[in-house]
């Protein structure tokens, strides 16, 4: 691997650590909530092989309500559809062969995608990979802890664990807005989701919120995230 790419990868790992720490708590809440419904083994394996928090929670909600596998999978699929849009967004930044592109697509998670967004339509793929590399073990570890501790916790709602997920997304959103000043787009996305939540199946309001990108107005970006690391700041050519 070229030195420049490995430097970006390391920068991604560093940038991903705070999200990983928060992700541990997210994984913990999934472990606690899923264990009574799915059993300990299936709960942990879900986090290992799926690694998509919102989809896992959506599928879990269906199973908890007594729904079948098909309904649970569709719920997860709907929440994951945003990765289709994110995948299309990073595609031009992937100069690799088909298999290489498909494999790198597996690293798509919300925080990494937002971090790697340079704001000019291109993405820092090595930063994305590094950030996901930092978050994946945290997500799995958190789930394992949640499964092990779940029995002692009792009713997880009493710990407010279900508030962790929206707080995490709010943190990602504000970090994004501090960079892009896309406040009107965020407001429009929130309004669409709010209007559709009472009438559409889970997942659909999120996909429909993508229409908020059509809100008029220019997107002004201050500094790409990629530039926050000292290494990138001292040698801007590393960002290409």
């Amino acid at each position: 691997m070229p030195a420049r790419a490995s430097g970006r990868l390391a920068a991604g790992v560093r940038a991903g650590v705070p999200y990983g720490v928060a992700g541990t708590l997210l994984g913990l809440s999934f472990g606690v909530l899923a264990r009574p419904v799915m059993g300990p083994a299936a709960t942990i394996i879900t986090s290992v092989v799926v690694f998509a928090g919102s989809a896992q929670f959506a599928a879990l909600a269906v199973l908890s309500a007594g729904g079948g596998a098909a309904a649970a999978i569709v719920a997860g699929l709907l929440l994951n559809l945003r990765f289709l849009a994110m995948g299309i967004a990073i595609a031009p930044s992937l100069p690799h062969g088909a298999l290489g592109r498909a494999l790198r697509g597996q690293a798509l998670v919300d925080a990494s995608w937002a971090l790697a967004n340079r704001g000019d339509g291109s993405f820092d793929i090595d930063l994305l990979l590094g950030s996901t590399l930092a978050q994946y073990p945290c997500w799995v570890l958190g789930t394992v802890i949640g499964v092990l501790a779940g029995g002692a916790i009792g009713n997880p709602d009493s710990l407010g664990l279900d508030a962790i997920f929206p707080a995490f997304f709010l943190g990602l959103l504000v970090a994004e807005l501090r960079r892009s000043r896309a406040g009107m787009v965020a407001v429009a996305g929130a309004a669409i989701a709010l209007a559709l939540t009472p009438v559409a199946p889970a997942g659909v309001p999120i996909i429909a919120a993508a229409l908020a990108v059509l809100v008029p107005g220019r997107l002004r970006r201050r500094a790409p995230v990629a530039a926050v690391t000292p290494a990138a700041r001292s040698s801007p050519d590393q960002r290409r």
Binding site: Q56, G76, L84, A85, S158, A163, I164, P166, F169, T197
Partner: protein, 104 residues
């Protein structure tokens, strides 16, 4: 129940992998039309804002509810405004939500 759970795990794994691979496979290595290129940077705020809403106010089934999670979200917003690390932000949200439930 066991079969249902494992079919769900396998199905979720498959659809997630396919969805994440699809964009890079179909659009890889070439420039997107300029309109798409211009709206893509705006996807993140739109999708993240929607996720905040659905995760905070989404009830069981198709419903909108205001419960202790909303208080947790306010706490998270305060922590974010104070530039707290993300782990602290989510802990504040959980703590306030737990407190509201204990009081309520």
């Amino acid at each position: 129940m066991t079969a249902t759970v494992w079919i769900t795990v396998g199905g979720l794994c498959l659809v997630t992998a396919v969805i994440k691979a699809l964009g890079p496979l179909l659009f890889g290595g070439r420039q997107l039309p300029s309109l798409i290129g211009r709206v893509i940077p705006r996807l993140a705020p739109a999708l993240l804002a929607a996720l905040v809403i659905t995760e905070t106010f989404g009830g069981h089934g198709r419903s909108l509810v205001i419960d202790a999670r909303a208080g947790g979200l306010v706490a998270a917003a305060v922590a974010i405004a104070a530039r707290a690390p993300l782990a602290v932000v989510v802990l504040c949200a959980a703590a306030v939500t737990a407190l509201l439930r204990a009081l309520g």
